[in-house]
Symmetry: C2
Subunit: 361 residues, 2 copies
């Protein structure tokens, strides 16, 4: 047990994800958008109409990049991994002259700035000019706008927004835990979020959605699912998008995303559904004792694709969502700050070896 | 127990710090410089003469900043907290097009680049032009050279170098643990180090050396130590530089630094020694059951001052040293990578509360 939290709870045994206030994810997703979800995670209750309006206003005014961040974005090689660009430019965006305690206002500001950086990284990869945010668009719609320069269809915004709601928090996952360890030293919120971005980048964490999409691309057709999976299995390769450290049953977010995928990307849904069925069968046949459920990355990869998000941005879009949880956890931990400095077990030799000066080595 | 490690061991009960291979810090410091110490932490043994030459060559060629890092440094407001500049510019320096597994070569490169960034941040604060590194100078000497543009006296280099040796690793402290959590997701070494910098920035961690110096500045004279400490104690203020989460006796690094301080800054040593004696007495009188020993930050602040390091750079100089340990821990953890995703205790309400659409809230 590394922390107490009321931000979210992953009830792995029962396949339940509970957001702050006691909301099951399947109850919340149909009625809340990302902004409302972030407010819930930060403040403990869903916003009223006027609170939501105030939050939107605050977010809109924090979308534009600071001069240092803008120049840093321009300094990055356009082909840089977008997560590295996000890590660097957000670090510049949140840089300050003196250290400040994490605040709710900063949580809003960092959350609001991320889509501008992600879209900026994408436009630079495309060798296209950056597009300024549009104040009247919501968080998800504005992100697609800044990527494409065209107002996106309502359904695409809905799919992306649902993804952002579903991924916004998930207990003490590795990136959230990173943010809490950094916060525990009394450091600032930008340092916490920048560190969390670095953790999310890992293939075993945020990078898994990309891997799931890559697998589905490689499978390509319903007919190819069986030979592909059998071959991968024979080579002892893992199937991206299956298995989870906490869930012992179907991930409730994956269930919602699987349903959304039917309309978001019907063709890929078909291939994915067939792949899922076979993959679970192969995994179960080999290890019937293991709970080899589909995880959120598998179906997220289909929904994000349907929403028109290029796969090289998947991990950045994950960060766009999870920053709400990271910052909520840091704000919660501020209430009772103790440095996280775990014990280790020494596996080296007993002390007392005498070093020789370099001349005698 | 969060990890097994053979990189270093803090034996708090006996006041011993053991570096990789079984070297007690008090045995190592008199014969090894920072480059040798870093090699030891990375490779498990001290370098031979030819291995040390090869390492020096490798470090010298990695001192110069990449274009993106150089432009990012130029983009930062010169008055930015130097730790924020370091976090941002190192993130740019280590940015890549594709994710790579942490490697010893990268550990060397990041370690070598940090002084260039720290000195660059300092020069910009001073509104002075940057100074290019000088290949024939060692790590510590070159850092002072890039800050001042003059070759430093041999003793100043020695004091700084000794500090860098002593602080290079210290078990699973919060910044090292941050690096290991980030590494556990399969992320890259730059992400680990950037996250660790964010953790080190906290006043309860790397920021404490600055606080100790600020206290000594505020005390100023031997005569003022008692009234200052009594007053601070009456206000329930903590004494920076005293107490540690792990040591239950005198920190062995503080012992070495206390001795160095005598020559590095004799006048401040006098004030500090008197302050130490009184502070320990006041703390002991109130809580005789507590092990209120002097910690490393207290005497480090005097030695760094004697070495001519301005206090606004103290935490950056800490990072300049600890990066050896951070990267050694990450490389060690790569041998058996498991995601660090601790359990949490839910303190929120039971699930099942039904959310209302915003119109009805």
């Amino acid at each position: 047990m590394a922390a107490q939290t009321a931000v979210s709870e992953v009830d792995g045994a029962n396949g339940r994800l509970i957001y702050r206030g006691g909301y099951l994810i399947e109850d919340l997703a149909p009625v809340a958008n990302f902004e409302e979800t972030a407010y819930l995670l930060w403040h403990g209750e869903l916003p009223s109409r006027s609170e939501l309006d105030a939050l939107r206003h605050e977010m809109v005014s924090a979308r534009r990049l600071e001069d240092a961040a803008r120049a840093t974005l321009a300094a990055m090689d356009p082909e840089t991994d977008p997560m590295d660009t996000l890590r660097t430019v957000l670090s510049a965006q949140g840089a300050t002259k003196t250290i400040a305690k994490p605040s709710a206002g900063e949580a809003v500001a960092l959350t609001a700035a991320i889509p501008t950086i992600v879209a900026g990284a994408y436009r630079r990869r495309q060798k296209k000019d950056l597009i300024e945010p549009r104040d009247e668009l919501g968080h998800a719609a504005n992100l697609i706008w800044m990527m494409e320069g065209q107002e996106p269809a309502r359904e695409r915004v809905h799919w992306l927004d649902q993804y952002l709601v579903l991924l916004a928090d998930h207990g003490l996952n590795a990136s959230t835990f990173t943010a809490r360890v950094i916060a525990s030293t009394g450091s600032d919120l930008t340092s916490c979020v920048v560190g969390a971005i670095g953790a999310l980048k890992g293939p075993s964490h945020g990078g898994a959605t990309y891997a799931a999409r890559t697998m589905l691309d490689s499978i390509g057709t319903v007919e190819n699912a069986e030979p592909w999976l059998r071959d991968a299995h024979a080579r002892h390769a893992r199937f991206p998008g299956f298995g989870h450290r906490v869930y012992r049953t179907y991930d409730p977010r994956a269930k919602i995303l699987r349903e959304l995928a039917k309309t978001a990307d019907p063709k890929r849904h078909q291939v994915a559904a067939h792949t899922e069925e076979l993959a679970l069968k192969i995994l179960h046949d080999e290890h019937p004792e293991r709970p080899n459920a589909t995880n959120v990355d598998f179906w997220a990869s289909v929904v994000l694709t349907g929403a028109g998000i290029p796969k090289e941005l998947f991990t950045c879009i994950f960060a766009t969502s999870r920053v709400a949880g990271w910052t909520a956890h840091v704000l919660e931990s501020e209430e009772d700050l103790r440095i996280i400095r775990p014990a280790s077990v020494w596996t080296g030799p007993a002390p007392g070896k005498k070093p020789l000066p370099v001349e005698q080595r």
